[in-house]
Symmetry: C2
């Protein structure tokens, strides 16, 4: 029924998130998601390659945004600092999506199949960030390490932000990266 295509896509995401939350991922069928979104099952698979991916649609945009920011950061800063600034810049997008992000993380945490996909997305994200750092001249292995560490720190901050509604994602990012610096400092040797 929806004409624009983008609208159907959004309704499918919303319906999937609701149903995964209500009955659990395993006990909801793609046909049910499509029905709640007012389309056919076939249309679901036209928008998303599989039943899991419907919850990870924003990742590509986030990845593009982060890597572009990393590439465009002008100053000659240490790798983790570059990542930190990119995360702070991207935080705004997430802040506006909290109503979607919160139940999303809850469902992922409760579903092994979704945690698996989440790990794969994290690995892809780290690879992309490492490549972006490499473009800045950071040596390969150092870039890879910084990208992985940076991403898990961001992920950690996002989780804390969801659990602790009171403070902003920016504050959680500041705190997480401060903790990281402290950890690194005391781990010397």
């Amino acid at each position: 029924m929806p004409r624009s295509g983008e609208e159907a896509r959004r309704r499918l995401q919303q319906a999937a998130l609701e149903l995964y939350g209500e009955r659990g991922f395993d006990r909801t069928t793609t046909a049910e998601i499509a029905a709640r979104a007012g389309v056919t099952e076939r249309t679901f698979f036209r928008h998303f390659p599989d039943k899991r991916e419907v919850l990870f649609d924003g990742e590509a945009a986030l990845r593009a945004d982060l890597t572009r920011t990393v590439a465009d950061t002008p100053e000659d800063l240490p790798p983790l600092e570059v990542l930190f600034r990119a995360f702070r810049k991207a935080a705004g997008i997430l802040e506006g999506n909290r109503a979607f992000a919160e139940p999303r993380l809850a469902v992922i945490a409760a579903t092994p199949a979704l945690r698996e996909r989440d790990l794969a997305k994290a690995a892809a994200m780290a690879d992309a960030l490492a490549a972006a750092l490499g473009e800045r001249g950071v040596e390969d292995r150092l870039a890879a390490l910084a990208a992985h560490v940076g991403w898990v720190t961001f992920h950690h901050a996002a989780g804390a932000w969801i659990r602790e509604s009171a403070r902003s994602l920016d504050e959680h990012l500041d705190e997480a990266f401060a903790d990281l610096r402290a950890l690194s400092a005391e781990a010397g040797g």
Copy 2:
């Protein structure tokens, strides 16, 4: 046909590995695996929960072996050193399984669905190692970090061992952990 149960299991693993290598993971059906192993498709799913898991059967045993070794290491050593010794001790198991390990890694590297599962197994392994370190009195966050870093280093060494047949897994482990120490030393700050 096989009577012991364990024999059917091994034949299913062997058949799956061969077929995944010959036609690729996506183009082999569980029925074909079962047929080559001389059993029914239903029996395949009695031994393995899904089509991917047939390649990850040894992980539980390896995990048990590693955590036990970590727990039993008597001296008061730094966390990464404890892990390093556990890996060296477990290396013997893998050395004897090279004929299985080599094509296995090739298939995993070539198949996104299997890489996803591999990442999940790595995360589970790191969690188990972190818990084992925690039992030794290592502080939680430090244990988690050491476990993750240790596991990726082990994984890295195992990959190098597969690619470079000439040298033993022990040698690759020595080199990987030496590299890790050098990296950590130069990263201070």
